[in-house]
């Protein structure tokens, strides 16, 4: 069901609206996953009008499953309370909770897709009409997506799990979905990343190589999609995570999202943060970092690393379509304890994969509360950043980092604005 709401609000930040509007296409639209509201918001940046689409696919009443296997097989979560108190429950306490997390747009074939991390669905919509075309159940906390628009294949990653193997993602598979049929999507053979919770995912331009990295295991994988899914892998750090079969992976880097630039350089955000060394008993504060990997070499080679503070938690990121710049969302640590830890940073890199030592700019604003997703306009001039806790879509000047305005998408703390996708104009 689609609703259109007109009473939108833009809270103007520091700069006049007129100045901002004078430099932008009035019809810019940005899709935002409103995870806490079970909606997708389609934001007209100029007018502030938000078109909301409810996410209310078929969901399963988990309370009827009385064993862990049936429970998990139906996309529910087994809560082991010890003995008769154990029960099956839906993720997130409510079986109507879908938690739309990430959006991808196929501009060639005019579709957009959404993953619902709590209920395990992928939804496909018409980009022209906004109508829901079909849904497909992939289960197990679908998260980010990568698209091959030519072959019409969708690759779906998994949410980071909760380490016990019972909650969050349990599989190590990137789900492959064929959406070439105009009416019905179809599951295809998945890609096995061997460690649970492959989260970051990126694909090269001809659809022959797919890259993923596991939040739970600090490994980077390359799949040769046209060569029997041959897999190559490399640890994200030398000296750690050296055994891919280690049942207790080190989990220092905690990679989140990857983007591929120039078809050879993979830029990877690593959220890092507090890490407990179980051997020394010391808790280390690992700097949040951005890696640049040469993924055409074998083994894949770490070219350079940019370090942020430990509490920065680099999260989603996006490359400029017009320059050698990458924009990184800093999710930050617990926002009300470490209020200045979140922000948006701009880094520049060379075609050899070296990151300049100094960031181009970094923007931290009081209004930011746990930033999450990011995308950029066609012309590379404007950034769109979601606030998971503040419930806003923040609009920044990509060249300077200046915050232009913040559009409220719903109540603070409850909206949980996550994935952001800009609708290209051409």
């Amino acid at each position: 069901m689609k609703h259109i709401y007109f009473g939108i609000i833009c809270s103007m930040m520091m700069t006049s609206c007129d100045l901002f509007e004078s430099n932008n296409d009035f019809s810019d639209k940005v899709y935002v996953a409103l995870q806490g509201l079970n909606k997708i918001g389609i934001v007209n940046i100029n007018s502030g009008i938000v078109e909301e689409i409810d996410i209310n696919y078929h969901s399963i009443d988990c309370s009827g499953f009385n064993n862990a296997t049936d429970c998990a097989n139906n996309g529910c979560m087994w809560h082991d309370m010890g003995g008769v108190n154990s029960h099956c429950m839906s993720h997130g306490d409510s079986h109507s909770n879908h938690a739309p997390h990430f959006i991808s747009i196929d501009h060639s074939n005019k579709y957009w897709f959404v993953t619902t991390m709590m209920s395990g669905w992928v939804g496909r919509y018409s980009l022209n009409t906004g109508d829901l075309i079909d849904t497909i159940f992939v289960g197990d906390s679908p998260a980010l997506m990568a698209l091959d628009e030519n072959k019409q294949i969708l690759y779906v990653s998994r949410m980071m799990l909760m380490a016990d193997g019972q909650h969050g993602s349990q599989t190590s598979f990137i789900q492959t979905i064929d959406y070439s049929d105009t009416e019905k999507m179809e599951l295809k053979e998945p890609l096995d990343a061997t460690i649970q919770g492959p989260h970051a995912v990126a694909i090269n331009s001809d659809g022959s190589k797919l890259f993923t990295s596991t939040f739970e295991g600090d490994w980077l994988y390359k799949f040769m999609l046209e060569d029997n899914y041959i897999r190559y892998e490399v640890p994200l750090e030398t000296g750690y995570s050296e055994d891919i079969n280690d049942p207790y992976p080190t989990k220092r880097m905690k990679p989140v999202q990857a983007i591929l630039v120039e078809d050879s350089l993979l830029i990877l955000s690593c959220s890092a943060g507090k890490w407990h060394d179980i051997y020394s008993g010391i808790t280390h504060k690992i700097p949040g970092q951005v890696h640049v990997w040469n993924v055409n070499s074998e083994p894949m080679e770490l070219k350079d690393t940019f370090l942020f503070s430990w509490d920065s938690r680099p999260w989603h990121l996006i490359a400029s379509p017009t320059s050698n710049r990458v924009f990184v969302v800093l999710k930050g640590e617990d926002y009300d304890i470490y209020p200045n830890s979140d922000g948006v940073a701009c880094l520049s890199y060379t075609s050899e994969g070296m990151i300049n030592d100094e960031h181009e700019w970094i923007t931290r604003e009081e209004i930011f509360e746990e930033l999450h997703g990011i995308d950029i306009s066609d012309d590379g001039m404007t950034l769109y950043v979601s606030g998971f806790v503040d419930g806003k879509l923040h609009v920044l000047d990509a060249s300077s980092g200046e915050l232009k305005k913040s559009i409220s998408l719903g109540p603070q703390l409850e909206t949980q604005a996550a994935g952001v996708k800009y609708l290209r104009q051409n």
Partner: protein, 442 residues
């Protein structure tokens, strides 16, 4: 409805001055209904709540002692810092009774202080909540800083039921915030800022949030474990955690004893071996037996959590030879006895608050640092190792018994309450047992 309307919420406001005194408040103590009134229609919920630590928060003799200590040593901020969460109605209505007027908690409970205040975290504290709160950050002066967004006294009860039944007693309104872990703020996340240092004193929500899948998805929320759904679709209102009423003798009769025991048993897993280091089936004289143990948290926050500096979880290891002589023991204590911190083989999970003189303290008000390296973090697996040199006198089977144990108080914290200390239970969280055969090489 537009986004503006979505973000609207209602609350009665109050403000505090620099000493935590109410400057102004729109909330009257009479705005809060007593739990007794709620009982008329919600008897099961009442009975569950009445067994809970929320109901016990102002009846607890240990709390009463602590707040009197704060009154004596850190007044006026100390007792207000405590009362803000133990009885939010008292804080927001400026009904801050004089704790010195009561010698014992029984005196207090029999006084003419409002029943709503004595009820502690009473029904209306939660069911008049309209907006999520933030973490309490106690600054250098440790002022009471909890921000409660309440709308009591207007005949509206808020809750998690989307289509509540109409009734003639109160209006019922659905609020999605009741599904959120952050609903348990501001009282279950408190940090202290001293000289610009952040001390994560009681940070259960932050610990949970750092288990990334938890914070991002609300998967395994606070409510899902501590207010699980019952068969009839209602949430259990006992808010089971790790604390119980210690006034019962035998302690097994304490209302939440079984619930706490079951919860703790579901919190960790033990096994012999760690990764590819296995417990051998046999060992020879003169060799060193390495006993690896894997401890896995299946809890979405640290163990212990909350006032982790008051609590402790540890491994009790007992290894007996064929003659039932003790070959090795660690962490073996009576319930009233402190652990031997000088035992280098002791596997202990706890934290320590540090005061300005680098001594340990149990007062948030006096905290200048925290040693929290020894907490078992959420969903983390850690190893523990024990070594025995196999002497020639040892023969036959070595019987290895390992238990993970927990108690909600370090015994010395109850030294002023010997009647409670004797009832302090040690709960078993997990246990494993195995044998190693000693090969006679002589």
């Amino acid at each position: 409805m537009n986004s503006d309307q979505i973000s609207e919420y209602t609350e009665k406001e109050y403000s505090l001055d620099e000493n935590g005194n109410i400057v102004s408040t729109e909330i009257s103590i009479d705005d809060f209904s007593s739990a007794i009134e709620c009982k008329e229609c919600h008897e099961t919920h009442y009975e569950e709540w009445n067994r809970s630590m929320h109901a016990y928060s102002m009846k607890d003799p240990v709390f009463f002692t602590c707040i009197k200590d704060e009154r004596d040593n850190n007044s006026p901020h100390g007792e207000r810092f405590c009362i803000q969460c133990h009885s939010p109605p008292a804080l927001v209505t400026e009904n801050l009774f004089d704790i010195d007027a009561y010698a014992t908690v029984e005196d207090f409970l029999s006084s003419n202080v409002s029943e709503v205040i004595k009820e502690g975290v009473t029904c209306d504290v939660c069911h008049s909540y309209t907006k999520l709160s933030q973490t309490v950050i106690a600054s250098d002066d440790s002022l009471a800083d909890a921000k409660f967004h309440l709308y009591p006294g207007e005949g509206i009860k808020y809750g998690p039921i989307e289509d509540p039944m109409e009734n003639q007693y109160h209006q019922s309104e659905y609020s999605p915030i009741f599904h959120r872990s952050r609903f348990c703020l501001p009282c279950h996340n408190m940090v202290v800022e001293r000289d610009n240092n952040v001390i994560e004193a009681e940070v259960t929500i932050t610990e949970w949030n750092r288990v990334t899948g938890a914070g991002m998805s609300e998967s395994m929320s606070c409510q899902s474990c501590h207010m699980p759904l019952k068969a009839n679709g209602d949430h259990l209102h006992t808010f089971v955690g790790v604390d119980i009423d210690l006034r019962f003798d035998p302690i097994e009769n304490s209302p939440l004893y079984d619930d706490v025991s079951a919860m703790l048993k579901s919190a960790v897993e033990l096994k012999f071996g760690y990764n590819n280091i296995l417990l051998p089936e046999t060992i020879q004289h003169g060799a060193i037996l390495n006993i690896p143990i894997t401890i896995t948290s299946v809890t979405a926050h640290s163990i212990p959590s909350g006032t982790s500096f008051n609590r402790e979880a540890w491994l009790e290891v007992i290894i007996l030879d064929n003659n039932l002589d003790t070959v090795l023991q660690s962490g073996v204590v009576e319930n009233t006895e402190s652990l031997n911190l000088a035992d280098s083989s002791l596997t202990l999970f706890t934290s320590f608050l540090i005061d300005s003189k680098n001594d340990t303290t149990h007062s948030i008000m006096e905290t200048y640092g925290i040693i929290d390296n020894n907490l078992l973090q959420g969903f983390v697996t850690v190893p523990a190792y024990y070594n025995i040199t196999i002497s020639n006198e040892m023969v036959g089977l070595l019987d290895m018994q390992v238990r993970m144990l927990f108690r909600a108080f370090k015994p010395r914290l109850l030294q002023d309450h010997p009647d409670l200390l004797k009832n302090l239970p040690i709960f078993e969280m997990a246990s494993i047992r195995d044998t190693v055969y000693i090969q006679n090489t002589q």
